[in-house]
Amino acid sequence: MKKLCVFSAVLYTLTVGLAASAEAAGTLAGTAISNQAYADYKDANGNAMTRVFSNTVTVSVSQVAGINVDPASISSTAKNGDVIYFHVQSFNTGNANDSQTYTYATSGAWTPTSVRMFHDANNNHVYDSGDGPSLLQVGSLLLMSC
């Protein structure tokens, strides 16, 4: 019997820190953007005057959270008793380190007997011995088995 397993993103308890990385969009939260202008001028007799500076204005960059889960949903066919692996990547598109809550939902006439999430620690996009222990239902799920 074939079963359809659909993973659609993301609903469980979070506890995972996502480091803002190259994928992160924007200036890091907390950065101070300071601006100061200056001017040179002369007096009526053409003498150069000492340069003057303006006050400094500072804008503080706020945190904007963002996460992109790719793919947002994924499906596969399998026989009864099969183990199916799904590879899911999440990207921190915000401008600060952040934590997210992950969960999953299934659709179709199918209920998985157990779902476990693994962190793809060696980042080779498959579940293998290089990856960490099961995070069970808590994790940064880059790998998921249904």
């Binding site: 200036t27 601006n35 007096d43 303006s54 804008v59 401008n95």
Partner: protein, 185 residues
């Protein structure tokens, strides 16, 4: 008798010329002192003040219309449009001549090259850390594969400085504003 008189006459002449020289010299020296003090006075009494403010421009819907509203920008997010305003004031007693305002573009924002304003000011920008200034959009020459050069507008991220040259002397008390828009990266 005649001889003696003659000598006396020469002495008088000599004294007269001596006095005249001293007077000329005195006038000359006084002149220098006079001009010198006027100079120092003009310098002391010439003062330009600069004040910078920053606001955030938000698109707000009012009565069905989208309008831009300026709000304080102490906290901003990537993508926000900031408006920097520099107010210049002649705070002295003498004229301010050839006022040249320079704003190095801070890290973390991208300037909008066509959003730089300044009434009575000649606006130029630098993409080489202030070494050279050109009217926006600053063009760069790119070598194409066939060896020919193509002129293209420099990307806004490459702008490093904005310069405003105020065209006319500022009278005491006179004030004006220049501004630029930038987006938080």
């Amino acid at each position: 008798m005649t001889k003696a008189f003659f000598i006396t006459g020469r002495l008088i002449m000599a004294t007269y010329i001596g006095v005249r020289k001293s007077l000329i010299l005195l006038c000359f020296l006084t002149g220098i002192v006079f001009f010198g003090s006027a100079d120092a006075q003009a310098q002391q009494e010439t003062k330009l003040d600069l004040k910078t403010t920053v606001e955030k421009e938000l698109k707000v819907k009012k009565q069905g219309k989208t309008v831009l509203e300026k709000v304080p920008a102490e906290n901003s997010s990537p993508g926000d449009q900031l408006v920097y305003t520099i107010t210049y004031t002649n705070a002295g007693k003498g004229a301010v001549v050839d006022a040249t305002i320079v704003n190095p573009i801070p890290r973390g924002v991208t300037v909008d090259p066509m959003g730089i304003e300044g009434t009575d000011a000649n606006v130029t920008c630098s993409i080489d850390s202030g070494r050279s200034f050109h009217a926006p959009p600053v063009m760069v020459k790119i070598k194409k594969p066939d060896g020919s050069l193509e002129s293209k507008p420099a990307p806004p991220e490459s702008y490093t400085h904005i310069r405003w040259i105020i065209k006319k002397p500022l009278a005491p008390g006179q004030t004006g504003q220049v501004n630029f828009k930038a987006t938080v990266k």
